[in-house]
Subunit: 169 residues, 2 copies
């Protein structure tokens, strides 16, 4: 059996005159047998729902993750946050700029190291994050509903076996 992808539905017109046979589907070759392919599709679907859940708050999944980690670790340094969020520290700079310009996070000069900034949620940041968490919990419930509790745990366990502890040399 060959796995396929349905063509994008035509908005109005009927099927176009084309020369490549019946052409109702496009074969994916060996792609459909690759774990990475299925992981990517799942990632896209989950993130799309995630973004939909947070859209009203103008928060992306990435920014939400940063807020969560900062809340859990007040005073965190930027490099530590980058490591925890699996981002390059240069990637973090514009993200924090955005959060700071929206008064959600504050960079405070570290008392013991003039190169470093300590990161803190502002009151406004804490308020928005509380709302965002509610939306995310709803999102997670929606996702988990596709699985059931047992399969959800199984999935996470299997996924973690692919991402070994998060080693980075």
């Amino acid at each position: 059996m060959i796995t396929t992808v349905r063509r994008r539905a035509r908005a109005t017109a009927g099927p176009t005159a084309r020369g490549d046979g019946a052409g109702a589907t496009v074969g994916l070759g060996m792609l459909a047998e690759l774990i990475g392919y299925h992981v990517r599709l799942a990632q896209m679907a989950v993130f799309a729902d995630f973004e939909r859940a947070l859209g009203a708050l103008s928060l992306s999944p990435g920014l939400f993750g940063l807020l969560v980690i900062v809340e859990a670790n007040p005073g965190l340094r930027q490099t530590q946050l980058a490591d925890a969020a699996r981002l390059d520290r240069s990637t973090l700079v514009p993200a924090l700029d955005k959060l700071e310009s929206r008064d959600l996070v504050e960079r405070r000069a570290a008392p013991d190291d003039r190169r470093s900034n300590g990161l803190f949620l502002t009151a406004q940041g804490a308020t928005l994050l509380a709302q965002a968490k509610r939306a995310v919990r709803a999102h997670e419930k929606r996702i988990a509903a596709e699985l059931g509790e047992g399969d959800r745990a199984t999935l996470i366990e299997l996924l973690d076996r692919l991402a070994p502890g998060g080693r980075r040399p």
Copy 2:
């Protein structure tokens, strides 16, 4: 139990004088309970291995996927390829430019529609793809070894439940 991420190992120096307590780990808050988080980590790990496998051929996972789909569907139109690969058709343009400049893929004017191009692998493209497929099969074997055959099937089944058919409105 709180899930954590180890701090980046210091290269040489001992622990820096810091004011935030023992600080051996950074908590992730509710992140570790989200399926999307685990999917993302798995995605990163799998793709890193994928890239390592293909690096010698100067092929990214994305370009490899395009070659596989074109090989399986000679004469495919760009929009169809974009749909099958889950890319925007504007994203495809520079990717095909790259593949064409390397003489791996050819854009041929479609006989029945002067707006469209039919896509074909060149002989060189077919040769390189054959090599790439071998590398990818080795990669897949490596990944699957973390799971075992039964768990691999389970994982794919669960992931597919998260990505419902690939609907796109």
